[in-house]
Symmetry: C2
DNA sequence: TTCCTAGGTCTGGTGAACGAACTCACTCAA
DNA sequence: TTGAGTGAGTTCGTTCACCAGACCTAGGAA
């Protein structure tokens, strides 16, 4: 029995879901994919995850149909990882779990605030926009640091890019090369 | 670093939540608590979890404020585990994840169907009642086996009790002692 | 030719998960 | 008062995933 997977005796959709995203790191990898992380080394630096574990988790998530692996540049060819449509549907459980963690497992307020990109209203507890009365798709969600964010904690390119408002699913890696498109101050 | 916990470098409420319910078995224990399981041996039989692991997980969940341990009988005193208010708020992420698993990680349709107890309408994707237009609290949710349920899979008392419609959070253990309150046929 | 970068593999040590056996306190029936 | 049963664990040896760091490979760049 693979540790962390295989709840075969459980006749339950939750157990099936946990076989896909229930292993250590898996859900944080999917979260980062929503944040726009696509490259192996960006996952690596942002998550502080052992390389071999990241390799295995990416492979599992691709096999499960949550991520797909596609070239993002030629010569030399480099592959990135993006959410499939099934992966994008993980937005609801991930958002719900993050909101629970914000209320019951964190101190100092929300680390990250999610709002409706078209109207700016903060999403409610289930991920709907109270102003527009619609369930907001992840590509229409803006994220920005909240009052509880610990800005000093990390200095990798992904964390720095996420220090400014960012639309979910919009790729992050251009920021790590063309820094300064919005007059970003040098950190420190 | 404890395996399965400690994402200390992650400035993220999701990581905080996963430190509480992200370890193997933890979320299934909370799910069973929603189903009304309260006794150590019932968790044990329904989950097929090693005893030592169950002991550790229950202790962690009590320490995290998700479950509380209370005597459910005297002479001899026996303790059961029930959801705290923080634990009950895990209903939304657990329901969302189960629905994702039903659509993307299962075959043969929903294992379990959740509906609004007061009107009978099946809950929508975020756990609201489309008829009453309210977010349904777990104590107002009825669960019953769905078209994809594998009725032959398990024969422990909890699984048998859940083979009939059951209200979330209603304790299960009376059924394992006073079998027959609804003319249940003997199995086999 | 050497260095650098991206995206990995490989390896040895550590520790959690697993399953089975054992413990302990208590009750009940003979 | 002996023995069996129950509930809720604890102990122990084996297995296996996680971890950190070193190493590898292919294609540019200096």
């Amino acid at each position: 029995m693979a540790l962390g997977t295989d709840y075969a005796q459980q006749d339950c959709s939750l157990a099936r879901a946990l076989e896909v995203v229930g292993e250590r790191w898996s859900m944080l990898i999917v979260r980062d994919a929503f944040y726009g992380v696509r490259r192996f080394n960006d996952f690596l630096a942002h998550l502080d995850i052992p390389r071999a574990v990241l390799t295995g988790r990416l492979r599992s998530l691709v096999a499960a149909g949550v991520l797909d692996k596609e070239p993002y540049q030629q010569s030399p060819v480099r592959y990135g990882y993006g959410l499939t449509s099934a992966g994008r549907e993980l937005w609801l459980p991930i958002y719900a779990l993050a909101r629970w963690g914000e209320r019951h497992a964190s101190d100092g307020g929300a680390r990250t605030v999610f709002s409706h990109a078209t109207c700016g209203t903060r999403l409610d507890i289930v991920g709907s926009c109270p102003t527009c009365c619609v369930l907001v798709a992840p590509e229409d969600v803006m994220m920005r640091p909240g009052p509880g964010a610990l800005t000093e904690l990390r200095q990798d390119p992904v964390s720095r890019a996420l220090g400014r408002p960012h639309r979910l699913l919009a790729p992050i890696e251009p920021l790590s090369e063309t820094v300064g498109e919005q007059a970003a101050e040098p950190v420190g």
